[in-house]
C-alpha cells in the first residue's frame, strides 16, 4: 500500500491528532477494500483521498453536526482543528527569511494555510489537494497562489525581498 504515508499525513492535517488520524486512515482503508470492485484502477491516490475525505466527514457528522450545515464542511473542520492564528501582538517581525515565511504562514486565513500545507508540505498535487478538501482544483490554485502572494508581501515589508524579486 504505497499511499499510506500520504493518507496519514493528510488525515493528520484534517484531524489535528495523531490517534484520530490513524483511526481515520484505518476506516478509510476498510472502506477502500470494500469498494475495490468499483474502482476503475485510475488515479488510486486521488481515489483514496476522496474516500478519506468522505470517511472524515462521516466520522465528525455524529460528533459535530453543526459543522456540516454549509457546503464547505471539510474546510470548516480544518478551521476548527487547525493551529490558532497568531494575534497582531504575537506577530514579531523577524530578520530571517525562513522565520518571516513561518510567521506569515501562521498568519494566513485557515483555508489558505490548509492548501499550502497539503501542497507544499505534504507534497500533494493540486487535484489531490482538491480531492482531500472537497473543493475544485481551481480553488486550490487560487488559494495557494494568493497565500504565497501574501507571504511574499510580508517578506517585501520586512525588507527581505524587493518588489522585483529576492534580494
Amino acid at each position: 500500500m504505497p499511499h499510506v504515508d500520504v493518507l496519514y499525513r493528510v488525515a493528520l492535517s484534517l484531524t489535528g491528532q495523531p490517534a484520530d488520524a490513524e483511526d481515520l486512515v484505518q476506516d478509510t482503508l476498510i472502506r477502500a477494500y470494500r469498494a475495490i470492485d468499483r474502482f476503475d484502477g485510475a488515479h488510486p491516490r486521488a481515489w483514496l483521498l476522496t474516500i478519506l475525505r468522505h470517511t472524515h466527514l462521516n466520522r465528525i457528522r455524529g460528533r459535530r453536526p453543526e459543522l456540516l450545515r454549509d457546503g464547505d464542511s471539510a474546510q470548516r473542520t480544518l478551521e476548527v482543528t487547525g493551529p490558532p492564528v497568531p494575534s497582531a501582538e504575537d506577530f514579531v517581525v523577524s530578520e530571517t527569511f525562513e522565520a518571516v515565511v513561518a510567521e506569515s504562514l501562521g498568519a494566513l486565513p485557515d483555508k489558505h494555510r490548509a492548501v499550502v500545507t497539503l501542497v507544499d508540505i505534504e507534497g500533494l498535487s493540486y487535484q489531490e489537494a482538491a480531492d482531500a478538501l472537497g473543493i475544485p482544483r481551481g480553488t486550490v490554485m487560487s488559494r495557494l497562489h494568493r497565500a504565497r502572494g501574501r507571504i511574499r508581501t510580508r517578506l517585501t515589508a520586512a525588507g527581505l525581498v524587493s518588489q522585483k524579486g529576492r534580494m
Binding site: V4, L7, P18, H145
Partner: protein, 89 residues
C-alpha cells in the same frame, strides 16, 4: 519598441502561470515557454527565485512527523496488509 511590447506580453503570460509552473502543474508546452522566458528575462527570473525560496522555506518549516509518523505509518501498512491478506486457518 515592438520587441519590448512582445517581451512585456510574455512577462504577463509567465506571471499568470509561474507558481503553477514551479509546482509542476502546467502542460509541457507551457513549461517549455516559461523555462525559455526565465532564462532570458531577469525580472521574471528573480520572481521565480523568490517563489522557489518561499516554497523551500515552507517545506523546510513543515511539521516533523518522523518519530510518531513512522510508527503510525508502519502500523497502518501492516493493517493494510492484513486487510488484503486475511489470515489462513
Amino acid at each position: 519598441m515592438i520587441l519590448t511590447r512582445l517581451s512585456r506580453s510574455r512577462c504577463h503570460r509567465v506571471a499568470r502561470v509561474l507558481q503553477s509552473y514551479l509546482d509542476g502543474e502546467v502542460a509541457p508546452p507551457t513549461a517549455a515557454m516559461v523555462a525559455e522566458h526565465l532564462e532570458t528575462c531577469r525580472r521574471c527570473g528573480l520572481e521565480a527565485s523568490t517563489y522557489t525560496a518561499i516554497k523551500t522555506a515552507i517545506m523546510a518549516g513543515g511539521p516533523d512527523l518522523a518519530p510518531v509518523g513512522d510508527q503510525a505509518v508502519q502500523r497502518l501498512r501492516q493493517f493494510a496488509r492484513d486487510l488484503s491478506e486475511p489470515p489462513r486457518h
